[in-house]
Amino acid sequence: MPLPDASLHPDETPAAAGMSRRSFLRTSAVLTTGLAALASSLRPLLELDDYTTVQRFMQKYYKEMTPADMAKVLKRIEDEVQKQYGIRPHVRDLKPMDGVQFVYCLNLTRCIGCRKCVHACVAENNQSRNPEIQYIRVLRMPHGSLDLDKADHDYAPPTVPEKGYFYMPVQCQQCKNPPCVKVCPVHATWQETDGITVIDYDWCIGCRYCEAACPYWARRFNFTKPEIPKDRLNPEMAYLGNRPRRQGVMEKCHFCIQRSRAGRMPACHDVCPAGARKFGNVLDPNSEVSYILRNKRVFIQLKEELGTSPRFFYYFDV
């Protein structure tokens, strides 16, 4: 830190030449110290490998990309994944199908709380294993109440189901009127025509406003670089779906877009041992979900009073 010396006093006007050398020396000393301090304070940045590249930095918004742009980006993503995980993935940009609107129905009478859906989801969607990110949270609720304040998130009995409880898995409700989409300052998350709310992971700035806005606690943030073991990577990927995410962006359930838009059921649906999960196209009158919504006496849209209008319906066998 520079200490003042005599030359600072205005009443001692310096004899130009001699003093200017002194002041030059002083200035350079201060500058050197300052720059050295600045450099050492920024030292941690040396560890910043693979943070961003010119192509990544310049990448356009999903909806503004031409097919040619997208082809380039998909190839780049495949290269990057191959470099990092040693596996060549197959990344597609799957578009919504005409005449399709997906809904999910979940039978609360049948769910046994085994959490198989949680783990199938993690495996399918390439979520980070460390720190662990899960899209589905199964709540254990005491009989008779839907009061979420009574939910137990960490139940761990030796066997399920338990007497006196029912189980309610909660994931993105794919709202018709999604608060997360409304609040996103850069439109990085939006609703597609098939009802799925998606995220452009390469456009998200990581402000987490959507996470604050979601009434279902369905969104997850990559607080650090996600870690997926190489042998666990699912190479069948979609741009708006399960391709690996990066540090500092949001993610969430997307009804397994890489499966559902290719005519398959979501992973959580297929793994459920109790048959509690039903998924399909609500616009198709012959689909199972249409049947359920037509014929079940009661179904619940979680927090219906908020006007979010979820595409996720809980129902009971009466």
Partner: protein
């Protein structure tokens, strides 16, 4: 034209140069602030590498001290209007030559706000996605896009007003009214808008009952107009002591009157909110209970909020008593106001919104050391900016840094400077 440009460049150069000149107290203060800024920068560099995992935030509590400080500082920035209104609308003589210090404080506060939002971003490298034209700003749907616009607009308005008035004073010219008065009036409305929009950021979230209440906006303004002028009262006294700038006690007492009324309104609105939350006894009060009483055995914020309430109430009583007409008591009161509102409008507002989560889970939040260092760094950066602004503005306002003495080197500023340095 060329002459005018040259003059302006000389003005900028001299302003820049004078920021590096001062007595030993100035160097000590600036040196200390620089060290803190560098510490903060170091902590931020670590955060950039490892991600926001180095903070205390989680998916459950996804905003923390960064956004808390941001919210408080938007209030400080907005509060400059409490000096502007008396001067430009009620022609207050005492505050006339002081209003610029309030506006400069607003500039410094906005710079800190922008810094706090930036460090909160997961991908700061993508900030350009927010720039209209380059990126995709979700306007008008997202309240955050409104905030981007109003904060940057407020920054530009104040920079223009301060810059223009100072440059006129430097040239010893009378400022052209049409070139700044309209901006002053726009800035008055704008100041209210920045804090209202920031309140709406929270109010607009239907899934968070703690914030989803129409009283949040009015409370934001009341608390801002308490803490902001309180901060200005302290700043003005420091300016007076160090620079011998002419600041009357009457001016300080005018500001006291503003703090007084604002604090009364603030406490009243607080009472309204607490009554509504607790008396009706519905199930949505979990967050409020967590804040004031603790919930299911979790009570990290309880000591904080009660400290804030005691501070606010004490300050309110001191403010209505004639006692606080003495500067010593007034200063104590101001400190109580600032700290009380910093807690209440910072952590006390942001954190309970996340506890319990919308699915009823309770995860508490405590800022990490790294996060705290980043905050300290930004506060130091803000103080550094404000000090530099004052270092430039005070001699200009005193007429010591002027066009007339253009040929003098930076350290020498005419007769008043001599007197001042002999005095110290």
């Amino acid at each position: 034209m060329i002459r005018a440009t040259r003059n302006y460049l000389v003005f900028l150069r001299r302003c820049f140069a004078i920021a590096f000149v001062g007595d030993w107290r100035y160097y000590l203060w600036m040196g200390a602030l620089t060290v803190l800024v560098l510490l903060g920068l170091n902590a931020y560099a670590k955060q950039l590498v490892h991600g926001l995992i180095v903070t205390g935030m989680s998916d459950q509590v996804s905003w923390g001290v960064y956004i808390a400080n941001f919210t408080f500082l938007v209030g400080v920035a907005a509060a400059a209007v409490m000096m502007v209104i008396p001067v430009y609308i009620y022609d207050n003589e005492e505050l006339h030559d002081l209003v610029i210090f309030g506006e400069l404080l607003a500039v410094a506060a906005i710079l800190m706000c922008l810094a706090f939002v930036t460090v909160d971003l997961g991908r700061p490298d993508r900030f350009w996605h927010l720039i209209p034209g380059l990126g995709v700003l979700n306007f008008p749907a997202s309240m955050l896009s409104w905030d981007v616009i109003v904060l940057n607009g407020y920054l530009l308005l104040n920079l223009h007003i301060c810059g223009y008035l100072l440059y006129c004073r430097y040239q010893d010219k009378k400022p052209a009214k049409w070139f700044y008065i309209p901006f002053v009036f726009v800035a008055i409305v704008w100041a209210v808008s920045i804090h209202t929009v920031t309140a709406f950021l929270y109010v607009g979230l239907g899934g968070r009952p703690f914030w989803n209440s129409s009283i949040v906006g009015p409370r934001f303004l009341a608390s801002a107009f308490t803490a902001g002028p309180a901060l200005i009262i302290l700043a003005l006294q420091i300016i007076r002591r160090i620079t011998e700038y002419h600041i009357t006690n009457k001016a300080l007492l005018t500001l006291r009157a503003i703090v007084q009324v604002s604090m009364l309104i603030n406490v009243f609105l607080l009472a309204c909110e607490v009554f509504k939350e607790f008396y009706s006894g519905d199930l949505q009060v979990a967050s409020t209970r967590y804040l004031y009483l603790g919930f299911h055995g979790y009570h990290a914020l309880v000591p904080w909020i009660w400290t804030a309430i005691v501070f606010n109430l004490t300050a309110m009583f001191l403010l209505v008593l004639p006692l606080s007409r003495s500067l010593r008591w007034l200063n104590l009161t101001c400190v109580l106001c600032i700290v009380g509102i910093w807690i209440e409008k910072g952590m006390g507002l942001v954190i309970p919104g996340f506890i319990p989560t919308p699915l009823g889970q309770i995860v508490e939040y405590r800022p990490s050391l790294n996060e705290t260092l980043v905050c300290i760094g930004i506060w130091a950066f803000g103080l550094l900016c404000y000090t530099v602004f004052l270092r430039m503005a005070v001699p200009i306002m005193q007429g010591r840094l002027a066009r007339a003495n253009e040929d003098l080197p930076a350290g020498e500023l005419g007769p008043v400077a001599q007197a001042a340095s002999q005095h110290s």
